[in-house]
C-alpha cells in the first residue's frame, strides 16, 4: 500500500496537509470518471438509435401524415392513398386474438399458480410455457398454417390469423400473469384460508385485486406485440391488397382475408414499385407510434399502480 494514499487526520511526517491531492488519488479520480464516461457512451450508443430512428422516420413521413392518410384506403396500385384497410385489419386481428388469448391465458395462469399441485406433469407444462414464449414467430406461422388454415379448414382468413396470434401470445400472457399472481404474498392466502374462505373466495377477495395491475400490464404489452407481428399473419390470413370502403368500420368477415399494417409496410417496401416516397415512412410511423403508445400506456399504468402499492 502506498503511504501517500492513506488519509491522515493530522499533517503527516512530510509536513503536507491532510487530504492533500496526491498523484495516486488523482489517478484514481481519473479512472473513476473514465469508467463513467465509457459506460455512459455505451448506453448512449444504445439509446441514440431509438431517437435517431424515430426522428428520421417522422421527418421523412411528414408530408404524408394526416388524418386523411389514416382513413383513406390504398389507391392506384397502393402507390397513393392511405392505410385504412391495413389499420382496421390489424385492429381486428389484435382484438380477436386478445379476446381469445387473454381470458384463457389469465384463467390458465390462475389454474397453474393457485390450483395445480406440484407434480412432474405440471413441471413439464411450466417448462413448455416458459420456452414457448421464446419460440420464433415464424414457427408460430408454421403452426397456424398447419393447424388453423389446413387442419381446422378455416382457410386463409381473419379467423386463422387471429387464432395464430392468440396462440403466440398465450404463453406470454400465462407467464406474465403467473408472475403477477406469484407476487401476492402467500401469507395473505393463508390468512384467508384460516377464516374459512374457499380457494375461489381467496382468489377473488385477495389474490386477483392485488395482482390485476401486473396482469393488465402483461396483456397490454401483448397488444403491442401482436400488432407488430408480421410473419404469423402473413401466412395465415393477411393479404397484399383487399379492397374495402374508405373509413368502413366492418370491412372484413371472420372468413375473409384481410390486410394488416405490419404486412402492409413489408409489402410497400419490398414488392410495390413506384410508391410515393413518404407513404412507407408514414406507414412505419403509424405502426411504430401506435406500438410505442400502447407500451407507454402499459408503463404508465404500472408506475401509477406501483405508487399506490397496498402493502
Amino acid at each position: 500500500m502506498r503511504t501517500d494514499a492513506q488519509p491522515r487526520v493530522a499533517a503527516g511526517p512530510d509536513g503536507r496537509p491532510p487530504f492533500a491531492e496526491t498523484a495516486y488519488g488523482r489517478r484514481k479520480l481519473r479512472q473513476e470518471s473514465a469508467a463513467r464516461a465509457v459506460f455512459l457512451a455505451m448506453t448512449l450508443l444504445m439509446v441514440a438509435p431509438l431517437v435517431a430512428i424515430v426522428a428520421h422516420l417522422v421527418v421523412e413521413a411528414w408530408p404524408a401524415l394526416s388524418l386523411e392518410f389514416l382513413l383513406d384506403v390504398p389507391r392506384n396500385r397502393m402507390t397513393e392513398g392511405g392505410i385504412w384497410s391495413a389499420l382496421v385489419g390489424t385492429i381486428y386481428l389484435v382484438a380477436i386474438s386478445l379476446a381469445v388469448a387473454a381470458p384463457i391465458g389469465v384463467l390458465a395462469a390462475v389454474y397453474l399458480n393457485e390450483y395445480a399441485k406440484d407434480t412432474w406433469f405440471n413441471r413439464i407444462i411450466n417448462l413448455a410455457v416458459i420456452n414457448l414464449a421464446g419460440v420464433p414467430s415464424i414457427v408460430h406461422a408454421l403452426f397456424g398454417l398447419g393447424a388453423f388454415v389446413y387442419a381446422a379448414r378455416f382457410g386463409f382468413s381473419v379467423m386463422a390469423a387471429s387464432l395464430t396470434l392468440a396462440i403466440m401470445t398465450l404463453p406470454v400472457i400465462i407467464a406474465s400473469t403467473r408472475e403477477a399472481l406469484a407476487a401476492v404474498p402467500t401469507a395473505f392466502r393463508e390468512a384467508c384460508w384460516n377464516v374459512g374462505a374457499s380457494r375461489w373466495q381467496t382468489i377473488r377477495g385477495v389474490v386477483l385485486p392485488n395482482s390485476i395491475s401486473g396482469i393488465l400490464t402483461g396483456i397490454i404489452l401483448q397488444v403491442s406485440r401482436a400488432a407488430g407481428e408480421t410473419a404469423p399473419v402473413m401466412f395465415t390470413g393477411a393479404v397484399l391488397y383487399k379492397a374495402v370502403e374508405r373509413g368502413s368500420l366492418f370491412p372484413y368477415y371472420l372468413d375473409d382475408q384481410c390486410m394488416a399494417l405490419s404486412m402492409h409496410l413489408y409489402v410497400l417496401t419490398t414488392q410495390v414499385p413506384n410508391v410515393a416516397h413518404a407513404i412507407p415512412y408514414a406507414t412505419a410511423v403509424v405502426l411504430l407510434g401506435s406500438v410505442l403508445l400502447v407500451n407507454a400506456a402499459a408503463i404508465g399504468l404500472r408506475v401509477w399502480l406501483r405508487n399506490r402499492k397496498r402493502w
Partner: protein
Amino acid sequence: MIREPITAPGPGRRHRRSFWSLLGEQAVEAAIRLSGISAIVFVLAIFFFIFREAAPVLFSEQFDPIEFLFSVQWYPTSAVDVRYGTLALTAGTAGVTLLAMALAVPFGLGAAIFVSEFCGPRVKETLKVVIELLAAIPSVVWGFVALTVLSRLMVEYTSAPVGVNMLNGGIILALMSVPIIVSIGEDALRAVPDSYREAAVAMGATRWQLVFRVLLPAARHGLLAAVLLGVGRAVGETMAVLMATGHAVHVPHGILDSVRTLTANIAAELGEAPAGSEHYRILFLTGIQLFAITFAVNLAADLVVRGTRRR
C-alpha cells in the same frame, strides 16, 4: 375493559352460503380448470401440428438427414435436381447471430453496468423505459429501417456492392437484442449483494476495479443468461433479417456478403410452396430445426438462471 358477550354459536346459528353463490363458484372453478387444461392442450398442439406437417417427409425413404443438415445445396424448386441441404442457411443464421452478438454483447453489458451502477434513480428509471420501448419496436419496422436507411449507409461507407448484407442484418439484430441483454443483465447485477460493493469500496477499489474484479465475476451466470436470451432472440428473428440480409443462399465469406437465415428462408418460400408438397414439408422440418435451436438456447438460459438462484 370491554365486556361484549359472544352469543354462544351453536350449530343452528351457522350461516350457509346461498345456492347461487355456491353454484357461481363451481362454475368459475370449472372454467379455471378447463382453461388450464386447454392452455396446456394448445401448448402441446404447437409441437404436434408442426411435427404432423413435417412427418411424411421425415419418415420417407428418400429423406437423408445427413444431407439435410450438412449439405450446402438448397435447390428446392430446381426442375432437374431438387436438393434440400440447409447448411448454408444454418451458416447464415450463425453468421448473422455471431455478428449481432459481437456488437450487442459489449454494448448491452456496458449499458447494463451503467444503468445498474453509474446513474441515479431518475436516470435509471428513464433509461429502463427507453430500453423497454426499444424492445417494443416491431421487427418489420427494424427491417424497414434496414432497407431504407442502413442499406444506403452501407453502400456509401463500405465497399459492399449491395446494401442488404450480413453486416446490415447484424447491426439490426444487435439493436434488437440489446434491450433483452440490458434488462436481464441489469437484473443479474442488481442481484449481486450490496455488501460486495461496500467491501470493495472500503478496500479502496475504484469503480472500474469494482466492475471488473467484483461485479462481473459475481454476476457471471446471470450475464451469461442475458447473452443467451439475446442469442435466442437473434436466432428467431424473422422479418428484420428477411429484409436486411439479402437473399443469397450460400455460406458467407465475409461480413459484406448477402446471406439467408433459416427464419428468412421459411418466410421467403412458404408462400410459394404448395401445401402438402415435399418443399412445403421440408420448410416445416426447418421449422422444427429452428424450434430445437431456440428451445435449446432458451432452456440453457433458464437453467443458468435457475442455477444462480439456487446458490
